[in-house]
C-alpha cells in the first residue's frame, strides 16, 4: 500500500517534472522569440539609420557576423558609450573610430544590457529573406497584352479572389479614386507610379519584404502566385498612365434650387390657371419660401466666387499637420522659417524634412511610402509639387513678415486650428471684409515700436488721454494704398 502510494507519488512527481519542463521549454522558446522581436524593433529604431546587416557599409560599418569579429562584452560597452571607450584609450575602439572617417557613434546610455544583448542576438540570427522563384517575369514593367491588364484589373478590384488567401482586395486599401477624408495607404495611382519607376520594386519584393510595421501587418495573409503578380503588374503599368479620378459629392444645394424652382412654377400655374388649391395663402407661402431659398443660395454662391475657403486639395505627399504640429509639437516656424521676414511663409525644402526624417524612417500611419517620396525626390532631383492653398489675388499685397514679426499675430488667427488638420485647408475666406475687420479691431504695439515714433499727432492725443491704445485703422490700416498699389 505504502509502496504503491510512493510509486504513484513518484509517478506524479515525474508527471509534474515533465510538464514543468515542457512549460519551461515552451516559455523559454516564447521568451526567445519575444527577445528576437525586441531586438528587431530596437535595431530598426536605433541602428538602421547608420548600419546595415548584409548590405555593406552605410555611415557605420557592416554588422553581419559582428559577434564573430568582436567579443560580446566589448560590443556592449562600445554600443553603450563608444566615446568613453575611445577616450579611455581602448586600441580596438580607436581603430574602429579611425576606420570610419572619425565619425563617433551615438551613445546609447538609455538602453539596458539586456536590450543591447537582444540587438546583438538579432544581428546574429539575422538571415536574408529567401527569394522565391517564379516561372513568369515579375520585373516586367510594360508591353502587357490587353487580356493580362484586364485580368489584373479584376484581381485588383477583388473580382477574382487570390489563390492562396487574403480576404480583402487591393482596392479596399489602395483607392483608385480620391476621397473626402485622408486614406493613409498609398493610392493605387501612387503605387503604380512607384512601380513603373526605373528602380521601382516589383510587387513580390515590396510585399514580401515589408518596409514598416504598418505594411507588415496589412500584408501578412497575402501570398500571391507568380501569375497573380504578373497580372497585377500589368494593371499597374497601365494605371500609371491614368489620372486619379476625382470623387464627386451629391450637389445638395443645386437639387434644392431646382426643387424650389419647380414648386414655385407649380404654385404660379395653380394660382393663375388651374386653381385647384382653395386657399391662396398656400401659394403665397410657397413662393415666399422659394424666393428666400433661391436668394440665400445665390448669395452664398456669389460670396464664394474667387474665394477658396475650405479648399483642401490632395497634396503629392500625405503630409499631416495634425501629426507634425499637434502630436509632435513642432513650431510652425521651424518648417515655415521665412514667415517672419519674407512676404511668403515659404514651402519647406526637402532638406528641412530630412532634418528629422533621416532618423524617423517610417510614419505612424503611412509607413515608409510617403516618407520615401522625399528621398526619391532628392535622388531624382525632381522637386515635390506641393499645391498652393492660400493665394491672394495679384491686386492685393500681403506680407507675412509684417503680420508675424511686427504685428505679432499667431499663425492660428488666420490659418485656423492647423494642429487638428490631417488635410490642410483654407480656414479663412481671405476676403477684403475679413482683412478690414481685423484691421479695425487689432491694436498696434504703438509705444514700444520705434517705427511709430514719427506719428506725432497720435502720440499727443494719447498723452492727452483721448484713447489708450492705437488700432491698425488709426495708423492708416484702412487706406486703399496700404494693400492695393
Amino acid at each position: 500500500m505504502s509502496h504503491t502510494s510512493i510509486k504513484s507519488g513518484f509517478r506524479q512527481a515525474k508527471m509534474l517534472l515533465v510538464s514543468l519542463l515542457a512549460f519551461l521549454l515552451f516559455s523559454l522558446s516564447s521568451f526567445n522569440s519575444n527577445a528576437q522581436d525586441q531586438g528587431k524593433q530596437l535595431f530598426e529604431k536605433n541602428c538602421q539609420v547608420c548600419h546595415k546587416i548584409g548590405g555593406g557599409k552605410l555611415v557605420g560599418p557592416e554588422l553581419l557576423g559582428i559577434s564573430q569579429l568582436r567579443e560580446r562584452e566589448w560590443l556592449v560597452k562600445f554600443i553603450r558609450n563608444s566615446k568613453e571607450l575611445i577616450d579611455s584609450g581602448d586600441k580596438l575602439a580607436i581603430q574602429v573610430y579611425e576606420e570610419n572617417n572619425k565619425i563617433p557613434m551615438q551613445s546609447f546610455t538609455n538602453l539596458s544590457n539586456a536590450e543591447i544583448n537582444s540587438i546583438i542576438d538579432y544581428i546574429d540570427n539575422w538571415q536574408p529573406v529567401q527569394k522565391k522563384e517564379f516561372t513568369v517575369d515579375i520585373n516586367k514593367k510594360d508591353g502587357f497584352t490587353e487580356t493580362e491588364i484586364r485580368r489584373g484589373e479584376r484581381m485588383f478590384y477583388g473580382l477574382i479572389p487570390f489563390e492562396n488567401g487574403g480576404t480583402a482586395s487591393c482596392i479596399s486599401c489602395h483607392y483608385t479614386k480620391n476621397t473626402d477624408s485622408l486614406n493613409w495607404n498609398p493610392s493605387a495611382h501612387d503605387l503604380a507610379i512607384a512601380f513603373v519607376e526605373k528602380n521601382g520594386m516589383n510587387i513580390y519584393e515590396s510585399m514580401s519584404e515589408p518596409s514598416s510595421q504598418v505594411m507588415e501587418k496589412a500584408h501578412q495573409e497575402y501570398n500571391l502566385t507568380g501569375e497573380e503578380i504578373y497580372n497585377i503588374s500589368a494593371f499597374l503599368s497601365e494605371f500609371s498612365q491614368k489620372e486619379t479620378k476625382q470623387f464627386k459629392i451629391f450637389p445638395k444645394r443645386l437639387m434644392l434650387f431646382i426643387l424650389f424652382a419647380i414648386l414655385m412654377t407649380l404654385a404660379i400655374i395653380d394660382l393663375i390657371f388651374t386653381k385647384k388649391l382653395k386657399y391662396r395663402i398656400v401659394h403665397l407661402i410657397i413662393i415666399a419660401v422659394g424666393l428666400a431659398v433661391h436668394l440665400n443660395i445665390a448669395m452664398t454662391e456669389a460670396k464664394a466666387l474667387s474665394r477658396t475657403q475650405d479648399y483642401a486639395p490632395d497634396q503629392p505627399i500625405k503630409f499631416s499637420h495634425q501629426i507634425h504640429v499637434g502630436e509632435n509639437q513642432i513650431d510652425c516656424q521651424y518648417c515655415h522659417h521665412i514667415a517672419d521676414f519674407s512676404k511668403s511663409a515659404g514651402i519647406p525644402s526637402n532638406d528641412v524634412c530630412m532634418n528629422c526624417h533621416n532618423v524617423v524612417l517610417a510614419g505612424t500611419n503611412s509607413g515608409k511610402f510617403e516618407i520615401n517620396k522625399i528621398k526619391r525626390s532628392i535622388e531624382n532631383g525632381e522637386p515635390i509639387e506641393w499645391i498652393r492653398i492660400h493665394n491672394m489675388p495679384e491686386h492685393v499685397f500681403f506680407s507675412h513678415s509684417q503680420h508675424v514679426n511686427a504685428g505679432n499675430i499667431a499663425c492660428e488667427t488666420c490659418h485656423g486650428p492647423v494642429a487638428e488638420m490631417h488635410i490642410m485647408k483654407q480656414f479663412s475666406d481671405l476676403s477684403m471684409g475679413w482683412c478690414i475687420d481685423c484691421h479695425r479691431d487689432s491694436k498696434v504695439n504703438f509705444k514700444d515700436n520705434e517705427y511709430y515714433s514719427s506719428y506725432m499727432k497720435l502720440h499727443e492725443q494719447m498723452k492727452a488721454g483721448k484713447f489708450d491704445s492705437v488700432t491698425v485703422e488709426q495708423i492708416g490700416g484702412l487706406d486703399c494704398m496700404k494693400c492695393h498699389y
Binding site: D180, K252, R253, V293, A304, P313, Q329, C356, R388
Partner: protein, 192 residues
C-alpha cells in the same frame, strides 16, 4: 388639407437640407472665379511653375561660381576637424545684450527646443515622446560647457552627425544669438 400637409413637410425637409448642406464643391475643387482680370500675376511668381526653364521651376540657383550679395560663404563642413577649426576661428560679431538674448531665446524655442529640450539637457519632446529614437546631445555636458560660442554657431550652421544643417533655415545673426542664449542663460543656470 392633406395636400397642404405634404407641401409643408416638403418645405420643412428642404429647409433642413439647406441648414445641413454646405456647398456642392468637393475639397479638391477651388470653385468659380468672376472676371479675374487682375487676380493672376502675368509675371511668374516665386513658386509658380515656369515653362521657360528645363526643370519647370521659377526659382533659380545663382549662376555657377557666383555668390549672392551680402552672403558670406561658409567654408566649414560638418566633419570633426572643421568643427574644431570653426570653433577656433569664428568670432561672434554681436554683444550679449538683453534684446539679443531675448531673440536668441525665441529662436531657440522655435528651432532647438523640440530636440534639445527646454533646459538644453537633450531631453526634448520629440525624444521623450519616443518619436525620435536617437537621444539629442545635451548642451549642458562638460564638453559643451567648455565649448566656445563659435562651436555652437558652427554646429547649427553645418550640422553634426545626425543633426542636419540649419544654416539655410536660421539667419547668421540669429544663430549667434542662439549660441549666446545657450552660453549665457542655459549653461549659466546649470553652473550656478
Amino acid at each position: 388639407m392633406k395636400k397642404n400637409k405634404t407641401f409643408l413637410s416638403i418645405i420643412a425637409a428642404a429647409g433642413l437640407l439647406l441648414m445641413t448642406g454646405s456647398c456642392d464643391r468637393s475639397r479638391n475643387d477651388k470653385g468659380y472665379e468672376y472676371f479675374p482680370d487682375m487676380a493672376h500675376s502675368i509675371a511668374a511668381e516665386t513658386y509658380t511653375p515656369n515653362p521657360n526653364f528645363a526643370d519647370g521651376q521659377t526659382m533659380r540657383l545663382p549662376a555657377e561660381n557666383t555668390i549672392p550679395r551680402e552672403m558670406v560663404p561658409y567654408p566649414y563642413d560638418n566633419s570633426l576637424e572643421s568643427r574644431a577649426l570653426a570653433a577656433a576661428e569664428l568670432i561672434n560679431p554681436l554683444e550679449a545684450t538683453e534684446k539679443n538674448l531675448l531673440i536668441g531665446k525665441e529662436q531657440y524655442r522655435i528651432f532647438c527646443e523640440n530636440c534639445h529640450g527646454t533646459l538644453g539637457d537633450g531631453k526634448g519632446y520629440l525624444f521623450t515622446s519616443k518619436k525620435y529614437a536617437i537621444q539629442p546631445a545635451s548642451l549642458l555636458s562638460e564638453k559643451m560647457l567648455g565649448a566656445p560660442e563659435a562651436d555652437i554657431y558652427h554646429v547649427i550652421t553645418a550640422g553634426y552627425q545626425v543633426m542636419g544643417a540649419h544654416g539655410q533655415m536660421i539667419r547668421p545673426d540669429d544663430r549667434w544669438r542662439i549660441a549666446m542664449f545657450v552660453k549665457n542663460e542655459l549653461q549659466a543656470n546649470t553652473l550656478k
